[in-house]
């Protein structure tokens, strides 16, 4: 940042590189800044998220609020450069005479415009923050919805027939948990230590949901372990084919 005096007015010309902070929200400040060259962003921060308010370009002035209000106050927003910029800084004392000479009616009207700007700024920040929060809620909600369909525990009898195999062995037992992705089954007609099946084997399964709806599907074994009953295997199964009607019934069943 280089600065140099420029004229009788004794304003300072500050040079900023892109991305530098010019004003920090909450700081005590009384100077007015005029953008001679470049562009800056006015922003505020809420919960560590930067909320952009507006961009200010060449010929425009910022910070005039404090000057016109003539109160020692804190900066209502932060400012940083969006590109390399040159900014003229006016100290209020420089404008003191001009301000004193300001026709009272114009001063009064200016103060009102200022108050309105402060109000609109507050509203804009509120609305922008709310818009951001709404976006977050929508994204969270989709995840919440997916979780609700996660899984339910039960004990419903099933019969299964191996498909895609010449053996076409039978399977029977209880479905103990179910989700939109698959089922967990406690097998009763075969023993864990004498299990003819392996992961990847596919079955056609029939069962009846607790709500009375018939359900049919194809599923393949993705995991084999010991079940609750001693010696009984437990198959983790993933759906390979689920008819639309069964999918719908399952969906309704899984809703909390």
């Amino acid at each position: 940042m280089i600065d140099q005096e420029i004229d009788v007015f004794h304003a300072y010309l500050l040079k900023y590189r892109k991305g530098e902070l010019v004003i920090k929200e909450g700081d005590y400040g009384i100077s007015i800044y005029k953008i001679v060259k470049g562009k800056v962003l006015i922003f505020t921060e809420s919960d560590n998220i930067e909320i952009p308010i507006t961009t200010i370009g060449e010929g425009e002035v910022i910070g005039e609020m404090l000057f016109l209000k003539k109160t020692i106050d804190r900066r209502s927003a932060s400012v940083r450069t969006l590109e390399d910029s040159e900014i003229e800084v006016w100290h209020p004392d420089m404008l003191a005479k001009e301000y004193a000479d300001m026709p009272p009616v114009i001063k009064h009207i200016a103060n009102q415009a200022l108050n309105r700007l402060v109000r609109m700024n507050k509203m804009l920040v509120q609305l922008t923050t709310r818009k951001q929060k709404l976006r977050e809620i929508v994204e969270t909600d989709v995840w919440v919805k997916k979780r609700r369909f996660y899984r339910k525990k039960m004990e419903i009898g099933f019969t299964g027939r191996q498909i895609n195999s010449t053996a076409k062995k039978l399977l029977s037992g209880y479905i103990t948990d179910i989700s939109l992705g698959g089922v967990g089954m406690e097998i009763t007609n075969i023993k864990l230590n004498n299990n003819p099946f392996k992961t990847g084997d596919e079955f056609f399964v029939k069962t009846v949901l607790p709500n009375g709806k018939d359900m049919e599907f194809h599923a393949k074994i993705v995991s084999i372990k010991g079940g609750k009953m001693p010696g009984a295997p437990f198959f983790g199964m993933s759906f390979t084919e689920l008819p639309d009607s069964s999918r719908k019934d399952l969906g309704f069943f899984l809703m909390p």
């Binding site: 300001m102 026709p103 009616v105 009064h108 009102q112 818009k131």
Partner: protein, 133 residues
């Protein structure tokens, strides 16, 4: 707020409006600056989703003053509608402009910047309000 004494001197005439009367219509060209003497008004802007209320102004507050800072008499940036019965003072625009001319170029620049910012900020707020509703 009470009517500022300096502003009072610039009142050319008084006008009365009934509830929902348009005192200023957005988009039309305007010549007058107003001050509220009694009652309140709503500032409204037209959006893709209809008319929305942007602000409420009360006794002592001034509206329509945007024309003072603009080189030509541009179009009104918002409508101002009476909220209940309202009495306004119509200000002498020519006299106000003469006062405005007394400002230094620097202060004039300051005022123009302020007004431009007010207009843009209001528009931005309106756009987001419409988007999120």
């Amino acid at each position: 707020m009470p009517v500022d004494e300096f502003t009072y001197a610039f009142i050319a005439k008084e006008e009365n409006y009934s509830d929902n009367d348009y005192i200023i219509k957005e988009g039309t060209s305007g010549d007058w600056v107003y001050i509220i003497l009694k009652g309140k008004v709503k500032v409204k802007k037209m959006t893709a989703k209809g008319l929305i209320t942007v602000d409420t102004l009360r006794e002592g507050e001034i509206f329509g003053e945007m024309i003072l800072w603009q080189a030509g008499r541009g179009a009104r940036t918002a409508s101002v509608v009476a909220d209940g019965p309202v009495k306004v003072g119509v200000l002498d625009t020519e006299a106000l402009l003469k006062e405005y001319e007394k400002l230094s170029p620097r202060l004039k620049g300051l005022m123009k910047s302020l007004i431009k910012r007010l207009s843009e900020t209001t528009q931005k707020a309106v756009t987001i309000a419409v988007e999120t509703n």
